[in-house]
Subunit: 206 residues, 4 copies
DNA sequence: CATGAATGAGGTTTCATTCAT
DNA sequence: CATGAATGAAACCTCATTCAT
């Protein structure tokens, strides 16, 4: 079992952080180890010392970002809150998360374009999406109380939520150009968040 | 303007088709010209003859796929159709388009991850999104007739539509894994299409 | 199917010759492509153009040398020659071959140390050892005529012949040192050849 | 003279054993220190602690194996034994030795391919080949008694013996393939041993 | 005695591109 | 119009070795 000294751990972390940034920016194929080690101010050999290969460095980077999903605990999700507030908070929280974690967004998208190969190889232990579990509770409660329509399937609702928000990042450039609207503009995103919340709320409420 | 003989034109087209396929699959950085020319059964020199560089080959591939958007004419968009039918047809048409054009989906996503650099460089003559224009008409008409809520902004509605559908492709692998649901399964996509149409319809109708 | 121009063929041959020399001298692992291309005055990229990999370059080198065995046709092997002359010519021919083809000797030995992996991978079509076939005839005829003992198995005889000669090359340095006798000295080899012929002749004759 | 604690000595020995095995298998250039230390479950730094360099580790490995020759004492070599029995025992003993010490065989061959460089550098104190000395006695006695031909030179006889046996190992793979006969098969080796003894006996006896 | 950290040189291979015919 | 030859830079990776603790 390998162990690391404090100093080594710091170097390793610097390497990983740099890798996350560059892989997010340019993807796996578009990032060279030379760039990474230069930015991380470390010897190239160390990549192999700590990670074994570029592939595994990428996987660790992906995995580290992926775990950030767990921080999106959506604390606001209380079954007894009024449905309007819940949806609004939820959408707002998700937008904030994407905005605050651009590397997460990019790495997830690169990974999907790569058919999820690395995630498969890693067998990352996904923590069953806490957000999803809370959403199920809320929807269930809402349907019992009659505030949410019976047809709503919480799984598709979750996808809808993600899709409505994610699209502003995954298709930002093509959509901005097509609509003549800068989707990176905070004011636009503010409106978007409201529009999404409005759409979803009206879309699910009874 | 360059012209090509029939034989040359055929080779050029074979090259472009292969490029579209491979760039869609592996992105710009992940695709080598060697692969392309091997698959297209053409001499490498020809890439430079026809396109000048790898970059421009990529741009042509992207541009060719991008133009497919124009085929998504959404013929069903008639201002006088009942709003329910319009939404249903629209969502269904968009899903079908994405399903039928996986290379379009991938190239668009790669391009967005690359910050739209190539599209910018190309100054692609975007056909002002016919879908968008029709959608504006429909929404306008609906709002006049009182079947669509006044707050609905057709631009955000379009993004919502795209996001709701696109997410099944852009995040297919991570979502499939997180939800334990195969988003590539036609039956699942069928349900998804209905859920999306239902959500949007209820989300916009007055 | 790849074809080569005359000029290309020359470069390829220069590369192969250099490879034979260096692989024979230092083995596969001990030879770097940089050395090879420097000596062959060629660009490193060409190795991959012509051979695909270092491994395949090695295999071609091995294969080319291996085929030299076919030139050892032992024209002297006539069934009706007196047995003494046959053995003498045979041993002398084999010694001469080994002496004239040091690269053959080395490559064969490296290959055996590598457990014949490359030969296996190549499935080299061995021409059924013409030497062996002639030897069978001679031994057969000799046994019929009563000049060669009946127990002699021509297969083991061949191995014996090879072993008696090859050992002067495969174990030259350790034996020279152990016996205090320079086995590379032409005069010593002359004696060796006679001793081997004498030994084999007396070993097989009736 | 360096001394080592029992624990250190054990580690050193483990390192040496592993080195012998791997150098025998892949040669000097084909073996990396990383492999060695991984297999020996030891820290890489220890190689330098105990041996100073890869080169010297190799030399120690070679030297250790080389000394095994001394164990080939050929106890059976008694001047008064009947010549037939002596030859038979000798050949059998040599075959057994080679069979029992594959690492010896390989290291000797690698070393010869490397022109005996390491042995030279080491100035290994070669124990004057006890086998050789006994053989001289036997041959001398035989020639006096008239059971062995006068022309026999015991040095060439020794080489012949070694060559006849060694060839089954040094050329195993190429010969097996050329003859369509598995030279690693114990039954084949049994026959080989008899054929060699027969050949040598008839080759030297008066 | 022993460990993990670190290094610089060099290994094989792949890249996009240009040349010559 | 089309082909094979050729290139230099840079890719990923491995090497034997040294350092600091």
């Amino acid at each position: 079992m390998k162990t690391f000294t404090a100093k080594g751990e710091k170097a390793r972390q610097r390497l990983l952080d740099t890798a996350i940034r560059l892989f997010a920016e340019n993807g796996f194929a578009g990032t060279s180890l030379d760039e990474v080690v230069t930015d991380a101010q470390i010897n190239k050999r160390m990549v192999y010392h700590y990670f074994g290969s570029k592939e595994r460095l990428y996987q660790e980077a992906l995995s580290a970002e992926y775990r950030k999903l767990e921080t999106l605990e959506a604390k606001t999700l209380l079954p007894d809150d009024p449905i309007g507030k819940v949806v609004e908070d939820l959408v707002s929280a998700y937008f904030s998360f994407l905005q605050a974690n651009p590397e997460f967004v990019h790495l997830i998208l690169w990974e999907n374009l790569n058919k999820g190969r690395s995630l498969d190889a890693m067998e990352v232990q996904l923590s069953k999406s806490p957000l999803m579990e809370r959403l199920v509770e809320v929807v269930c409660a809402g349907q019992k109380k009659g505030t949410i329509r019976k047809e709503i399937d919480s799984r598709f609702l979750l996808i809808s939520l993600i899709g409505n928000c994610m699209v502003y990042y995954s298709n930002r450039f093509t959509l901005s150009r097509a609509l003549g609207l800068d989707l990176a503009d905070p004011k636009v995103l503010e409106c978007a968040s409201k529009a999404v919340a409005d759409m979803i709320l009206n879309g699910i409420k009874a």
